[in-house]
């Protein structure tokens, strides 16, 4: 990404931004609320005016964006429905079922989204994103509505399934960034700039109890606090 500008309705979110994301690895974005994380992700997904995605992406937005008239299973298979490739669609269905079972929705496959709780909806959206099977995966607060236990489980699931892909993930939880990110970057300022790469040691997903991680967490929080 080179010399990008992000301007929304005259509001300059980022100026002359150059940024590299490590291919095949997970980058976690942290930053104060309203700094521009979602805007950056949308820029990367090619959703802002005059932008192009770097390749096929899977995008998980901050809202769950489930279609209310499709069952949970059909929502997860939405990409395949939209691409209207029957063979791939059929091939993806068992995977979608398996994913839904893994996120704990195995018994709600045929329910409509409005009967789900907030966290269940988010899990369905997560399953949809993982089912997409893309080289670049962009996720905006993917675990925000989940309880601590489910969150850890799904972090493991995601880390496992996203191995080898280029992932950019926005999160508000420093520990989550430290568990999942090969690299962590902090956004700050207005228009925002992106801080230096923080690369915790070890393979992802890292153990949540690891003291090194907790020490880094304290440092990260300090950093965030300092920047505001």
């Amino acid at each position: 990404m080179r010399s990008a500008h992000i301007v929304l309705d005259g509001h300059v979110v980022a100026e002359n931004l150059s940024l590299d994301f490590a291919g095949g690895r997970t980058t976690c974005l942290l930053g104060r609320s309203g700094v521009g994380k979602t805007s950056l992700l949308r820029h990367l997904a090619g959703l802002l005016p005059c932008t192009e995605a770097a390749g096929p992406v899977a995008y998980m937005a901050q809202r769950d964006l489930l279609l209310p008239w499709l069952s949970v299973l059909d929502n997860v298979l939405l990409g395949y429905r939209l691409r209207r490739d029957g063979a791939q669609h059929r091939a993806a269905e068992p995977r979608a079922r398996a994913l839904l079972a893994e996120v704990g929705l195995g018994d709600r496959l045929h329910d409509l989204p409005h009967t789900l709780s907030g966290g269940m909806r988010q899990r369905a959206a997560l399953a949809r994103t993982l089912c997409e099977d893309r080289g670049i995966v962009l996720m905006d607060e993917p675990f925000g509505h989940l309880d601590a236990v489910t969150r850890l489980d799904l972090q493991d699931l995601a880390a496992h399934l996203l191995q080898g892909r280029t992932v950019v993930m926005v999160t508000h939880d420093p520990l989550e960034a430290l568990r999942l990110g090969h690299e962590i970057r902090v956004l700050s300022g207005m228009p925002f700039s992106v801080g230096p790469v923080i690369a915790p040691p070890g393979a992802v997903p890292r153990e949540p109890g690891d003291p090194a991680l907790l020490a880094l967490q304290a440092r990260l929080i300090g950093e965030l606090r300092r920047l505001s």
Partner: protein
């Protein structure tokens, strides 16, 4: 039950109004007289009603099909939208008497010209509401679909169209309510049959009670059509319309 009570109340009010105001039958015949005519001329009325019902139904179906197709085309293609939308609006302002000879010329004296006329009136609410609905899709869904490499066609069929169904349902209701107007206007074109025709004729001949008998049947037809359309409209939106995001 309740509609029946309403209907009876209405009829009673009408009868009383006629009595109290001392209205002569050529201005407003009392329901009792209309009832008598309704029974006496039942065969005639049913025969004419079958024409009108046919026109209404075909006009509605044609109007729905054409209207939906046009709305979808407008939503899909900016070029069509630009060039043809004003045409559609103009088509609403054209009164039947001006184009009746043209329609007869092109479609003959049979039912076709009447159905065409009815469809012409009915299709606008459908186009307008469905097109409005198609324009109001949640942008979040559209963005999601873009990241999924959906073709514009797939987005239209699988996202914008289902999302527009509540608006379409509104349009179907209005179209069903407008259908009787369409059918009666349609009956001004071409040859002579139908309740609207019977009404004009009996009004011109001072047979006001017969005209009202025809009007009553027309009302019942309209109500039946509206009820059917309302049921259809409800079917279209089985999900809870607002927990979509």
């Amino acid at each position: 039950m309740r509609p029946l009570v309403t209907a009876l109340g209405l009829i009673a009010a009408w009868e009383i109004l006629v009595w109290l105001a001392g209205l002569p039958p050529y201005i407003l015949p009392p329901p009792s007289r209309v009832g008598v005519v309704l029974v006496e001329r039942f065969d005639l009325l049913i025969e004419q009603a079958s024409w009108t019902a046919g026109e209404m139904f075909l006009g509605l179906v044609l109007g729905l099909v054409l209207g939906s197709a046009l709305a979808v085309i407008f939503a899909a293609s900016a070029a069509w939208r630009r060039w043809a939308l004003p045409l559609v609006v103009v088509s609403q302002a054209i009164p039947v008497i001006a184009i009746a000879p043209l329609l007869v010329l092109w479609l003959g004296y049979g039912m076709a010209s009447k159905v065409a006329m009815a469809a012409l009136i009915i299709f606008f609410p459908v186009v307008s509401s469905l097109y409005d609905g198609l324009r109001r899709t949640d942008p979040g869904w559209l963005e999601l679909a873009r990241t999924m490499d959906a073709s514009p066609r797939a987005v239209l069929l699988q996202i914008r169209l289902p999302a527009a169904l509540p608006a379409f349902a509104s349009g179907v209701r209005i179209a069903a309510a407008v259908a009787p107007i369409g059918a009666v206007i349609g009956e001004w074109v071409g040859a002579s049959a139908g309740l609207g025709f019977l009404m004009t004729q009996s009004l011109a001949r001072g047979q006001t009670p017969l005209a009202f008998a025809a009007l009553t049947i027309l009302c019942l037809l309209g109500l039946a059509l509206y009820a059917a359309a309302d049921r259809l409209a409800r079917r279209l939106v089985p999900w809870h319309p607002h927990q979509g995001d």
